[in-house]
């Protein structure tokens, strides 16, 4: 098989998941749960297989190829095609998306079987897999596009899937509307980012006359600096929306309302990394606008720190992971902002492994808690209201109840903390090494973020798995079934050895990506920074252990040890620095008020008032004339007489 025969397969990465949707839509009811799950997983697997074949083709012809599928729209000088890009960067993303995606599909068969029953609507099982396949298709469009507009299709397409999946249990959540609100928030905040993407594309079109990578990127440096700055800064806005960076990160924590596999796939491993991919893809443009580069760098670095501070104070097991994701995305964005594309992509891949692992592990914990809750409720024939299976304060001691989950979670956690020789250590170290070259200030910020990361990992491990169970549910929790633990095992293996992709000295990933993007910063392995990073990680873990592990909490009501030490600051951290409240006060409430004012007093009062006023004027004039019509023949005759007399007088006097 040669590259020429392999590359034309690329449309199938999108079409196979779409075929999966079609089959499940038409025959889903007949297939049953197992069948639906199987078809959907096979569709994801098929997409993965095609991605592997493309990678094989690229091994022979690493410069890749663009493939035209059809003309999309053509008006005057605007020509946009449905065209696919096969190169090392896009295929890397395809492999991550479909690979992790397939594992999560398999995991979801088990997870959603339980979840749909817990939530009381087993019929929604099929819908979940329809959405999941749609997500794979949209994400594949995003990463395989050959022009920005097609990328935007995927970009908003994954946003739609995110909306659908966050709102999957649309009748649940706070006041029954919590999930629906979270979904809407995610979509709208993402749309704010999409505004940036759109305007960047408009600017690009009027500057370069094209939206295709092949025509814009090689000529990136030709445009005026102001134009380049506009394009890149608007792209940055898009990145902050999709990759949940400052200031648009607020949707991601709420997005945890979606089922846990969704959090793993969309809100940790793949969709949220789209922003990183966008910057990596557009690197030539960013390289020509140094000011934008440092903006990206600082946005990433500050987000990494900011989100990490919030993560240390959360009690919801998934929210900790959500803020951790935001923080890790900050690392990646900072990396690609510096131009260290290889480091950024490397971290993207390892993060996909270990964060998907952590989320799925958390899902397993949640299911275990729910099973424990139900067993306990059955045994005592009582109904416990207000049980939250995600609250870490009610967990504890799960190490012995759920051993497999514990071990894989431990691997994921340590990889996240950056402990050698797990994957996170190598990728994070590359970013830190690059930061050390580019900007010492950023380096320090990222180091603090790394310290906090290790700290909240230790806190979470201690609260969930160590000590003793702090609720009946935790004490009665049981291990999950193999359909859940097997994907966890595979992901744990990947999270452990994923660092091998770009080991110091081999630079497999670096060489592979070099064919497509030329990094601006070559971050070699630096023993000093690696050592510092490792020490920091161990310090963070140790600190966390000191606070939470040494004398574990025994009751759920006990105050958090950190809260005791930080006092008021802890409340700020737990309430996420009140960012949501600030945004509500600054944007949501004023907009609601404004729209109510426009709809009421302005539209119905002023504008329609003028209209009805004009009608009223006509009525007023009519009333004047009406008083003449009194119905008495004599007065008509008199008026006539007077009229005749006047006319005669006029004629005579003339």
């Amino acid at each position: 098989m040669t590259a020429e025969t392999l590359f034309p397969l690329v449309p199938w990465v999108v079409l196979i998941p779409l075929a999966g949707i079609l089959i499940n839509l038409l025959a889903g009811r007949a297939l049953g749960e197992r069948g639906v799950g199987l078809v959907a997983s096979l569709a994801a697997l098929g997409s993965f297989a095609v991605s592997v074949l493309l990678a094989v083709g690229l091994a022979q012809q690493p410069e890749g190829q663009s493939l035209l599928l059809a003309r999309w729209m053509s008006i005057g000088s605007l020509n946009v095609d449905w065209a696919f890009r096969v190169d090392t960067l896009s295929v890397t993303m395809m492999l991550v998306v479909s690979g992790v995606g397939t594992l999560i599909h398999i995991y979801s068969i088990g997870y959603m079987h339980d979840d749909t029953r817990h939530n009381g609507d087993p019929a929604r099982f099929r819908r979940f897999f329809l959405y999941l396949n749609l997500f794979i298709a949209a994400m594949m469009v995003l990463v395989s596009a050959d022009n920005y507009l097609m990328m935007f299709v995927g970009w908003e397409g994954v946003g739609l899937c995110s909306y659908l999946l966050i709102g999957f249990w649309f009748e649940k959540g706070e006041a029954g509307l919590g999930n629906a609100r979270a979904a809407k928030k995610a979509f709208v905040v993402n749309r704010i980012g999409d505004l940036g993407f759109l305007i960047a594309m408009f600017t690009m079109f009027w500057a370069f006359g094209s939206l295709s990578f092949g025509e814009v990127l090689p000529r990136a440096a030709e445009a005026a600096p102001a134009v380049l700055l506009a394009i890149t800064l608007f792209f940055l806005l898009a990145v902050t929306g999709k990759s949940a960076q400052l200031p648009l990160f607020t949707w991601l924590p709420d997005a945890m309302a979606g089922p846990t596999p969704v959090s793993a796939l969309i809100h940790a491993a793949t969709m949220v990394t789209a922003g990183v991919y966008l910057v990596a893809r557009s690197l030539p443009i960013f390289a020509a606008a140094p000011a934008a580069q440092s903006a990206v760098l600082w946005v990433g670095a500050l987000t990494a720190l900011f989100a990490a501070t919030i993560a240390v104070a959360q009690t919801d097991i998934k929210r900790v992971l959500a803020f951790s994701t935001i923080s890790q995305l900050g690392f990646m964005v900072a990396a690609v902002g510096m131009g260290a594309v290889v480091a950024g992509m490397f971290h993207l891949i390892t993060h996909a492994f270990f964060k998907a692992l952590l989320f799925l592990g958390a899902g397993s914990v949640i299911l275990g808690m729910e099973r424990g809750h139900e067993r306990h409720a059955q045994a005592h024939d009582g109904h416990h209201g207000g049980f939250d299976p995600q609250d870490m304060r009610f967990m504890g001691g799960l190490r012995s109840r759920m051993p497999v989950t514990f071990w894989v979670y431990l691997i994921g956690g340590l990889a996240l903390a950056g402990v050698a020789p797990l994957s996170g250590f190598f990728s994070k170290d590359e970013i830190l090494a690059a930061a050390e070259q580019v900007s010492p200030a950023v380096f320090v910020v990222l180091l603090i973020a790394a310290l906090l990361t290790a700290f909240y990992v230790a806190r979470q491990l201690a609260l969930v798995f160590f000590g003793q169970g702090r609720s009946e549910a935790a004490r009665a929790a049981t291990e999950s079934s193999p359909v859940i633990t097997v994907p966890l095992g595979i992901l744990a293996a990947l999270a452990a050895v994923g660092g091998a992709l770009n080991l110091p000295g081999s630079h497999l990933l670096g060489d592979w990506l070099h064919h497509t993007v030329e990094p601006l910063v070559e971050a070699g392995f630096n023993p000093l920074t690696a050592g510092i990073a490792l020490v920091i990680a161990l310090a963070g873990l140790g600190l966390g252990w000191l606070l939470y592990g040494r004398s574990p909490l025994t009751r759920a009501e006990e105050p958090d040890p950190l809260a005791v030490r930080l006092k008021g600051l802890f409340t700020w951290l737990r309430r996420k620095w009140y960012v949501d409240e600030i945004y509500n006060a600054l944007f949501v409430t004023p907009y609601t008020r404004l729209s109510q004012m426009l709809a009421g007093p302005v539209d119905q009062g002023l504008i329609d008032g003028v209209v009805n006023g004009a009608g009223g004027m006509a009525r007023l004039l009519g009333n004047l004339g009406r008083s003449l019509q009194n119905g008495y023949v004599r007065s008509y005759a008199l008026i006539m007489l007077v009229g005749v007399a006047l006319i005669f007088t006029f004629l005579l006097a003339r």
Binding site: A70, R71, W72, M73, S74, I75, G76, S77, L78, D121, L149, F152, V153, W155, E156, G157, L160, Y163, G167, F170, E171, G176, L177, A180, R181, A183, K184, F187, V188, R191, I192, D194, L195, L198, I199, M201, F202, T203, F205, W206, Y591, T592, L594, S595, Q596, L598, A599, G600, D603, Q604, I607, D608, V611, G615
Partner: protein, 502 residues
């Protein structure tokens, strides 16, 4: 010239023939009446496809022109002149496509005075198609005013509680605008000695001196019809009170008459005035986009919300038209079609909900996706198409409009398009709000628990629209191929002339 072979005549007068046929049927035979009317509407659609088949998409000129002297007034000939170009063709196709669907939606909604309803509906279709095809200004004016009459009765007789107020407001508001246009038409006819559009176009220098006034007179009529901010207040009232089928036609086609009028008359006849007015009208369009979106968000009545969303969406169309670039105008034309489909579908769904619960108040719903999954899924697709999600029709239209307006020389600044892009966010806000209030959340009203899901007829109404939604979204090129040459011809006639007149 053998007129019986000309599809233009058939497509214009088939509905009229259908109306006459329906008038002969006995009142009590409701199903005869319905099916005859439907047959006439479908025959019109077939005729419009025949028109499409005979159309040469490579040319941007008027085609299949019919021109027969009709009347002579004060020595000036008034012709019966019809013709079609790419823009017209799309509008005619849209009309012929939507009318049978709207009629189908009235199958169960209209139970009283079916005969009158169907006759008026078919008359309306003749009027609408005539407006798009007319190539003589007097003929155009006659069709333009003629459409008011059936719509007035559709709202006034089959509407809801405040129907008389709404019908009267609709009638007088739009009539007010068109009177000035009539004066302008007479003035031009007297100056040039003809009312024929093609001849007037060739002699537009004759009234170039007064073109700012003429532009204004035409613009007022069209802006009310579109409707542009701040002349829009008749729209929510008319929509809310109109029966579903009436709302579909009102939003889907009648509003397009205004935008079409701008394209067909204002731009080519008064090029210099167009260039001078472009930033002002584009500014009003942008205000309309944002204002419509913000007001829609505050509505409690689902139908009112959709009505205000029309103000916002038509703002995009107007921005596209007055940005005067190839992309923006072509996008504007496409968006006219898109709005007809998406907003038409929104009105249809709201109508279906109304038939089930007899209220348009959003608070009476909530969480009904569980009860009516098919309706919920189809509504979601419609909402997303209205919110311009990529892959649906709305995106292609809005994207090309905004892209074209962003660097438009006629506007001179990217701010118009930049602010209009904010409308894309606001659209997501109010549309998802609508969807959330109706379909998401917990089921709060017991009476909604028994709501029946869509029946086959209702699925048959929505599916063709959704097919078009995704077709235009994923592969709009066939439509753009129809639009492009005509838009090119149009702009070539506007821009150099305007520059030369300076």
């Amino acid at each position: 010239m053998n007129l019986s072979n000309n599809p233009l005549l058939w497509v214009t007068f088939l509905p009229l023939a259908g109306a006459l046929l329906v008038a002969l049927l006995p009142d009590a035979r409701r199903s005869w009446i319905r099916w005859t009317a439907m047959a006439a509407a479908l025959a019109t659609f077939a005729a419009s496809l025949w028109l499409l088949a005979g159309f040469d998409p490579s040319s941007g000129q008027m085609q299949m022109v019919i021109q027969v002297p009709w009347l002579r007034v004060a020595g000036i000939s008034i012709d019966f002149a019809l013709g079609v170009d790419g823009i017209t063709l799309l509008m005619v196709l849209l009309t012929a496509f939507l009318v049978p669907l709207a009629m189908l939606s009235a199958w169960s909604g209209v139970r009283e005075r079916v005969k009158g309803f169907m006759i008026l509906f078919l008359l309306l279709e003749t009027g609408l198609i005539g407006v798009f095809l007319a190539l003589d200004l007097v003929l155009f004016y006659i069709f333009w005013e003629f459409t008011l009459v059936p719509m007035y009765f559709l709202i006034g007789l089959w509407g809801y509680s405040r129907r008389i107020y709404a019908a009267l407001k609709f009638f007088i508001f739009t009539m007010f605008g068109s009177l000035l246009m009539l004066l302008a038409i007479i003035f031009m006819g007297l100056q040039a000695g003809t009312f024929n559009y093609t001849d007037l176009l060739a002699q537009r220098e004759l009234f170039a001196g007064a073109q700012l006034w003429l532009f204004f007179a035409f613009a007022l009529a069209f802006a009310i019809k579109v409707p542009m901010f701040p002349l829009h207040t008749w729209l929510p009232d008319a929509h809310v009170e109109a029966p579903t089928a009436g709302s579909v036609i009102l939003a889907g086609i009648m509003l397009k008459m205004g935008a079409y009028g701008f394209l067909r008359y204002n731009l080519p006849l008064f090029p210099e005035a167009t260039l001078r007015a472009a930033p002002w009208l584009a500014g009003l369009a942008v205000v309309g986009i944002l204002y419509g979106a913000a007001t829609a968000f505050a509505q409690k009545d689902a139908k009112r919300l959709v009505a205000y969303s029309s103000v916002s969406h038509l703002g995009f169309v107007m921005l596209g038209i007055f940005a005067l670039t190839q992309q923006s105008v072509a996008g504007g034309v496409l968006q006219m079609v898109n709005h007809g489909l998406s907003t038409g579908a929104l009105f249809l769904v709201v109508g279906m909900l109304y038939e089930r619960r007899h209220t348009r108040d959003m608070a009476a719903y909530g969480g009904i996706w569980k009860v009516v999954p098919v309706l919920g899924a189809l509504m979601l697709a419609v909402v997303l198409s209205s919110a311009a999600l990529p892959g649906t029709n709305g995106f292609v239209g809005e994207f090309t409009i905004l892209l074209g307006s962003f660097g438009a020389p006629a506007l001179g600044t990217p701010w118009f398009a930049g602010l209009a892009t904010v409308g894309v966010i606001l659209a997501a806000v109010y549309l998802l709000h609508l969807y959330e209030r109706l379909f998401l959340g917990p089921l709060t009203h017991e009476e909604n628990r028994q709501m029946p899901d869509l029946n086959l007829r209702e699925v048959l109404i929505l599916v063709p629209i959704l097919v078009m939604v995704f077709w235009i979204g994923l592969y709009p090129q066939p439509f753009l191929d129809l639009i492009n040459p005509s838009v090119e011809t149009l702009l070539q006639s506007v821009l150099p002339a305007a520059v030369a007149m300076h």
